[in-house]
C-alpha cells in the first residue's frame, strides 16, 4: 500500500499515512506526466543534435573542429 510521511514540526511526530484513492490517482497522473515530459526532453535533445550535425555537415566540419572554432 502506498503511503506518505507526515512530519508535525510542532511535536516532531512522524506519521505514516496510507494514500487515499484520490491521492493514488493524482500520483499516477503525475507519473504519466513525468513520463511524457521525459519523452519530450529526449525528443528535443535528439532534434538539437540532429540540427547540429546537419549544420556541421554543411560546413564540412567535425564536432571537434567546431568546438575549437567556438572555444
Amino acid at each position: 500500500m502506498a503511503t506518505k510521511l507526515v512530519v508535525d514540526c510542532s511535536t516532531g511526530a512522524v506519521e505514516e499515512i496510507e494514500l487515499t484513492a484520490e491521492e493514488i490517482a493524482e500520483m499516477e497522473l503525475a507519473a504519466q506526466q513525468a513520463e511524457e515530459q521525459k519523452a519530450r526532453e529526449e525528443e528535443e535533445k535528439a532534434a538539437k543534435e540532429a540540427a547540429r550535425a546537419e549544420i556541421l555537415a554543411k560546413l564540412g566540419l567535425t564536432a571537434e573542429e567546431a568546438a575549437v572554432l567556438l572555444g
Binding site: A2, V6, C9, E16, A31
Partner: protein
C-alpha cells in the same frame, strides 16, 4: 553564543517506501529555512524529479534551473503548479547511490514573495551518466511558509531516504 542553526525535524523513509515527505506546522520563529535531503526513487530510469509545494499551494511558482546531465549542459524553467527543479536517482543508477539536495529559503515567514535556491547532485558510479543542478525560484505568495511537501515524481522514495528541516536564526 546563541544557537542559530537548529534541526527542527528529521525523517527517514522506512522499508515500505513513501510517495511523499510532508513537513507540517513549521514554526515561524526562525529567519531562514534549510532542508537537506538524501533520496533515491523506485523509478525504473536513471532519474526522476521531485515535486515540491509550499503550504499545499498549486500555483504561483516560477524558477530557472541550470543543469548538467550526461555531459550536456542546459537550462529549464519550473512548472508553475509545483517546483520540479530537482532530480533523484532511479533504479538504473548504481545500487544504493542517492542524490544529495539542499533547499534554502530566506525570510520564509515574511509577507514578501518567497525566493529560494536548490542545489542537487545525483551520485552514480558511471563515467557518463551524471546529473547536477542549481536552481533559483520564487513562490509569489505573501503567506508565511508553514508546510513543505516533497513528492516523488515517479514511484516512491526508497528506504533510507532522509530529509531534515533546519531553522536558521540571524542571532
Amino acid at each position: 553564543m546563541a544557537t542559530t542553526y537548529e534541526a527542527i525535524a528529521t525523517v527517514t523513509v522506512g522499508a515500505g517506501g513513501a510517495s511523499s515527505i510532508d513537513f507540517t506546522s513549521i514554526p515561524a520563529t526562525y529567519t531562514d529555512l534549510n532542508v537537506l535531503l538524501c533520496t533515491r526513487s523506485t523509478d525504473t530510469g536513471l532519474r526522476t524529479d521531485i515535486k515540491m509545494t509550499f503550504n499545499g499551494s498549486s500555483s504561483s511558482y516560477s524558477g530557472r534551473e541550470v543543469r548538467g546531465a550526461d555531459g550536456t549542459v542546459s537550462s529549464t524553467t519550473s512548472n508553475t503548479t509545483y517546483v520540479d527543479m530537482w532530480r533523484i536517482n532511479g533504479t538504473s543508477t548504481t545500487a544504493s547511490t542517492f542524490t544529495n539536495h539542499s533547499l534554502y529559503i530566506p525570510n520564509y515567514a515574511s509577507s514578501n514573495n518567497k525566493s529560494f535556491s536548490i542545489d542537487d547532485v545525483l551520485e552514480n558510479n558511471s563515467t557518463s551518466s551524471f546529473y547536477l543542478g542549481f536552481a533559483a525560484g520564487l513562490w509569489s505568495n505573501s503567506s508565511a511558509i508553514n508546510q513543505i511537501t516533497f513528492t516523488c515524481g515517479t514511484g516512491n522514495f526508497v528506504q533510507h531516504s532522509t530529509a531534515t528541516l533546519y531553522g536558521i536564526k540571524n542571532s
